[in-house]
């Protein structure tokens, strides 16, 4: 595995027989890392026994007679989207396609040109092969130790052969490239390889498929995946590859920076686009749009633009402040006493926020850009407002149009996205020199963090109705979204506060000396540095939040976990031709695996991100 220093010179003489070299290396390695002392040997034996016991236990359950894995394979659609109409499923695929396309572009923008050390890849492949062999030996039949094994002999032999083939391949490569250890493989090559591997995998994969024979006896013969699954996933993989290549072309022509800024905006934009437009399928009333909405939007574009000219005039800051305060007052007045609802009020809120922020960034030369941004903001905001303010085209018989894994992801991202600005405000308040802001922030954080999330969720579901005017009834998903937002904001605020504390005081003082306003100092100097410092804890919080979404199962929202423990165990003969009562363990294992894959991937990528950003090394 690793070549050890002292033996190297000896081995140089024996270049002709590489396998022998490995054997010596492995033996040395084992002596050093596993059997260096009596104590160490004991530990190794104990760890080995536990590992074998646990692995065989799990494998024994997975491949045993008891579980009905059909409850998982048959209900895959339920797990992913719950009640989304099958005939509209192309909307889900479209959304996944957008995400994959953006993902491909992102890979290209961040390190598309990078090359991966071939040796590193080879050692990964070796590890994979080793793991396969170990798994096969532990779970398969073994002549002396155990006869009854979860895995069949045939499967064991196949796995061992594949494992050794992988290991051998890697070692062969290593031996061949001994002279030029710096050899690398391009990211494109690896990605293309993975895509091909993935496509081959899903086309060859056989899954247990539930069957009832004439006598009603249940069985699970292995069958390939349905083409309704394989074709779309093939397409998705291809889309990702194509966009990765396109991104590479773009980077070559225009440079990385350009693509990155476009991508950040696209990721932000994709969330509302996917949730509110693609998945929700709004039934836009075009007649009303042309006769009414378009004029309101144009009015705001023109009126707001004119106002902006006045507000963002650096020569007369006082007048700008008063005018922007005026927009705020007007926005509040639209709730009460004017009580104007719908598009105008929502656009007015957007206007007020924009007018408050704009003066701080206004400069003589930047007026054109500020105006262009304004037009873009109004158009995009009104587009989503009009889209959200409609009926759905979909005929959905469920409370909310999303469920399952889709809901888990969208809930987590949505609440985190809303919580983040709130958290920044609270963190700033807590660091503020103004006592009332500080006490309010401290009170908020301590109150929210002191009480478990489940209590907040129970209150959001059971008590929310009491705190809003009679007659207003919010969707359950919206309520838990609000609860999550408020809860996570308190935790994120504490993370961000850590970053704020770490930014040197000299930074603030220097900015003040340059004549920056407090707002400018905070947004342009302090926050960017602070946020960069707290990326690792924030990623940790994102992972925690993703896991926390499972709690909504307790309050009756049908995300992944609730489907696993409540919906599927209620399926009986007349409903799906199979009965899945008593399949909780199987469903839970599957759900645990899904969560694990997501969170583990996230934590791995955050480690890579930390390395890349050099956090903690500055």
């Amino acid at each position: 595995m690793t070549s050890l220093g002292p033996t190297e010179s000896v081995l140089d003489a024996e270049r002709e027989s590489p396998p022998q070299k490995v054997a010596i290396g492995a033996f040395d390695w084992m002596r050093k890392h596993l059997f260096s002392s009596v104590f160490n040997t004991t530990l190794t034996v104990i760890a080995l026994l536990i590992a074998v016991f646990v692995t065989r236990g799990i494998a024994g359950f997975i491949f045993g007679d008891r579980p009905k894995w059909g409850s998982v394979t048959e209900n895959m659609r339920l797990y992913m989207t719950f009640g989304y109409p099958p005939e509209q499923i192309f909307r889900v695929w479209l959304s996944v396609g957008i995400v994959f396309a953006l993902f491909g572009l992102t890979l290209a923008a961040w390190g598309g040109g990078n090359r991966v050390s071939a040796n590193r890849l080879a050692s990964s492949v070796t590890k994979l092969g080793g793991t396969l062999v170990a798994l096969a030996l532990v779970t398969g039949p073994f002549p002396i130790l155990w006869d009854d094994a979860p895995l069949s002999l045939r499967a064991e032999i196949i796995m061992v052969v594949i494992g050794f083939a992988l290991g051998g391949l890697a070692m062969f490569h290593k031996a061949r490239t001994e002279e030029q250890p710096e050899r690398t493989i391009s990211r494109t090559g690896i990605l293309a390889g993975s895509v091909v591997f993935f496509i081959a995998f899903i086309w060859l994969l056989q899954v247990p498929t539930p069957m009832l024979d004439a006598d009603g006896v249940y069985s699970e013969p292995l069958a390939p995946l349905a083409t309704t699954t394989t074709w779309p996933w093939t397409l998705m993989a291809v889309i990702m590859m194509v966009f990765f290549l396109l991104g590479g072309v773009f980077v070559d022509r225009r440079g990385e920076e350009r693509l990155r800024s476009v991508l950040v905006a696209s990721w932000l934009f994709s969330y509302p686009l996917i949730v509110f437009v693609i998945l929700r399928a709004p039934d836009i009333d075009w007649n009303q749009f042309w006769t009414r909405d378009i004029w309101i939007v144009l009015g705001f574009v023109v009126g707001g633009g004119l106002l902006l000219l006045l507000v963002a005039d650096p020569e007369r800051p006082e007048r700008g402040r008063i005018l922007s305060l005026g927009t705020v007052v007007l926005a509040i007045a639209m709730f009460w006493p004017l009580s104007i609802g719908g598009l105008p009020r929502n656009l007015m809120i957007v206007t007020a926020i924009y007018m408050l922020v704009a003066p701080s960034f206004a400069a003589k030369g930047a007026m054109k850009r500020t105006l262009a941004n304004w037009v873009a903001v109004v158009l995009i905001a009104s587009f989503f407002m009009i889209a959200m303010d409609t009926e759905m085209i979909l005929q959905i018989s469920k409370e909310s149009f999303l469920g399952g894994l889709a809901l888990t992801i969208i809930l987590a991202l949505g609440a985190l996205g809303l919580a983040f600005p709130l958290a920044i405000l609270v963190a700033l308040g807590r660091q503020s020199r103004m006592p009332i802001f500080r006490q309010l922030s401290i009170g908020y954080v301590e109150l929210i963090r002191g009480v478990p999330l489940i209590v907040w969720l129970i209150m959001a579901i059971g008590l929310f109705g009491f705190f809003v005017p009679t007659g207003v009834e919010l969707d359950k998903v919206i309520r838990v979204l609000v609860a999550f937002t408020i809860f996570w904001a308190a935790y994120l605020a504490e993370n961000i506060r850590g970053g704020l504390q770490a930014v040197g005081k000299g930074q603030t003082e220097a900015a003040e000396a340059l004549g920056m306003t407090a707002f400018q100092t905070t947004t342009l100097i302090v926050l960017p540095q602070a946020l960069r410092l707290v990326i690792p804890p924030i990623v940790g919080q994102v992972i925690t939040s993703f896991k926390d979404t499972s709690l909504v199962a307790i309050v009756g929202v049908f995300e992944l976990l609730n489907i696993a423990i409540r919906s599927i165990p209620a399926q009986t003969v007349p409903t799906s031709n199979f009965t899945f009562i008593g399949t909780v363990s199987e469903n839970l294992l599957f759900v645990a695996m899904v969560y694990w894959v997501f969170t583990y991937t996230m934590s791995r990528s955050s480690l890579r991100l930390e390395e890349k950003l050099g956090v903690g090394k500055r």
Binding site: L48, F437, V451, P452, V455, F467, S585, Y595, Y600
Partner: protein, 508 residues
């Protein structure tokens, strides 16, 4: 700061440009918005109350509970308050045991991750990666489902009948349990702890004076064991103390509530005053009084306010004072009746007992003997323990890594074995880094026990849900939950902060 200097320079700054004024205006506006928001919320609340089916009151605390509980010190609570008490005790039971086990496992895992043994390190890494990346709720429900794989309970269920019995009805095992005379012996235990502290201080002083190794820990432990051990045999000697307990009981029974309230109020005010005095004293340097930051002012004001609020609250809440008084009387009454044991061991070995019923003896349940863990308890307990141990393991690992490598190298160079190195050099230094995150994990564990409702474990949220459904008032229950958890969290954070401050002082 800048605002003030500018103020001093130019007195003619117009009001709308005066930063101080603007800042205060902004703050007052914010307060006004917050107050208005709350007024709006509570206005809606009371408006909805009038026509609603959910009366906001705490009367149910004194009314009969009217339901059975599956687990707790009493299964048939007399009142709502007692039912909640069962829930609280259950919360603490699983939280404390969980903290104990999670610490044990976490330390092992944390050290294993840094083991030079490749297999052990990999094993610990997979342990951490698996447990902390799967939602706790999923894990809990899964453990509960897994427990059903244990067999049915029969008269001869093992693995070691009479000592350890595992079945789908839970786990029972033999353990020492208090017997008659336990409370008499407890006095010796307390005395032993106190004596051990003094012995330890004495030995340490001796070491500091002479420079010789004085084995302070062994001495302290020896003292404790000696006193507690002797107490095992001679505990009936303190039996006559029952007269003292009896006298205290009748004192508390006879004490008028108002006197007690006055005493409590004075104690609250005195405590606040003492705290402020000590706080100010801590700020005093040889060069004179340190300049108070506004954070310091707030602490002082806050401490004073807490004292005053506490003092006022004592008078406002007659029932609380009365309950405390009754509680004190009950404690001493209980002690009096407990101090009658003439002889015998104060703690005894208790083995699990099986109750066998049914005409063929087919219904087997765990009886009163040994320690019995129900499946629901085990689901929560195993869940929070394993989950938290993964996080504690990471904290321990980070703590050990925070010790500079030079320390390890120096230790190895001076001939310490790896175990000695860990015990004498690395862990003491790592401890300060480890404690704050581990403290937070303890708090998380305690809060996470609330997920027990998903497996039917009756902790405070679970009992509260049943009560709320019965009385139809979730609002009052929410207040109780929030009060309980806030009190717990704030107490706990205060303890962690106290430790942090203490450990920092030691560092200097």
């Amino acid at each position: 700061m800048t605002a003030k200097t500018r103020d001093a320079d130019t007195t003619r700054v117009p009001l709308w440009r005066n930063v101080t004024v603007l800042k205060w205006l902004a703050q007052i506006a914010t307060v006004a918005v917050v107050v208005l928001l709350f007024m709006w919320l509570f206005g809606n609340f009371s408006a909805n109350q009038e026509g609603g089916t959910s009366p906001f009151s705490f009367r149910f605390l004194n009314e009969p509970a009217g339901f059975q509980l599956g687990e707790g010190f009493t299964l048939t609570p007399e009142s709502g308050a007692q039912a909640l008490m069962v829930g609280i005790v259950n919360t603490f039971k699983v939280a404390l045991l969980g903290i104990l086990m999670a610490t044990l496992l976490g330390v092992i895992v944390g050290i294993s991750r840094l083991s030079s043994n490749w297999l052990v390190a990999k094993f610990a890494t997979s342990y951490v990666e698996f447990l902390r990346n799967i939602p706790l709720l999923v894990q809990m429900v899964f453990w509960l489902a897994l427990l059903t794989l244990l067999g049915k309970l029969t008269a001869d269920t093992g693995p070691i009948p009479g000592f350890l019995i595992t079945s789908s009805k839970g786990v029972a095992f033999a353990f020492v349990v208090p017997a008659e005379g336990f409370f008499q012996w407890l006095l010796f235990v307390v005395a032993g702890i106190v004596a051990a502290r003094y012995v330890k201080r004495w030995r340490r002083r001796l070491r500091d004076e002479t420079g010789n190794e004085t084995h302070e820990l062994s001495w302290a432990l020896g003292t404790f064991v000696a006193i507690a051990g002797v107490g095992l045999a001679i505990h009936p000697l303190v039996g006559p103390l029952r007269h003292l307990w009896g006298a205290l009981e009748s004192f508390f029974v006879g004490l008028p509530v108002i006197v007690f309230q006055v005493v409590l109020a004075v104690v609250a005010l005195l405590a606040a005053a003492l705290w402020i005095r000590r706080f100010l004293a801590s700020l005093r340097t040889p060069a004179g009084m340190a300049k108070l930051t506004d954070d310091d002012y707030y602490r002082i004001v806050f401490a004073g306010a807490v004292g005053v609020v506490g003092a006022v609250a004592v008078f406002m809440l007659d029932e609380v004072a009365q309950t405390l008084l009754n509680g004190a009387a009950n404690v001493f009454g209980g002690l009096e009746s407990a101090y009658h044991a003439a002889a015998g061991w104060p703690i005894v070995w208790s083995q699990p007992v099986l109750n066998i019923a049914g005409d063929q003896g087919q219904f087997v349940t765990y009886g009163d003997g040994g320690v019995v863990f129900t499946p629901a308890f085990l689901g929560v307990f195993i869940g929070v323990t394993l989950y938290t141990s993964a996080f504690i393991g990471e904290a321990v690992r980070a703590g050990i890594l925070s010790v500079p490598k030079g320390q390890t190298e120096a230790g190895l160079a001076s001939g310490l074995t790896r175990t000695q190195l860990l015990r004498l050099v690395v862990l003491p230094q790592a401890f300060r880094v480890i404690i704050p995150p581990v403290g937070n994990q303890y708090l998380n564990l305690a809060k996470n026990t609330s997920l027990g409702i998903a497996v039917g474990y009756l902790e405070i949220v679970g009992v509260g849900q049943i009560l709320a459904a019965k009385i139809g008032s979730r609002a009052s229950m929410a207040v109780i939950w929030m009060g309980f958890y806030l009190a717990m969290s704030l107490t706990f954070s205060a303890m962690i902060n106290w430790y942090n401050r203490r450990s920092l002082i030691v560092e200097r």
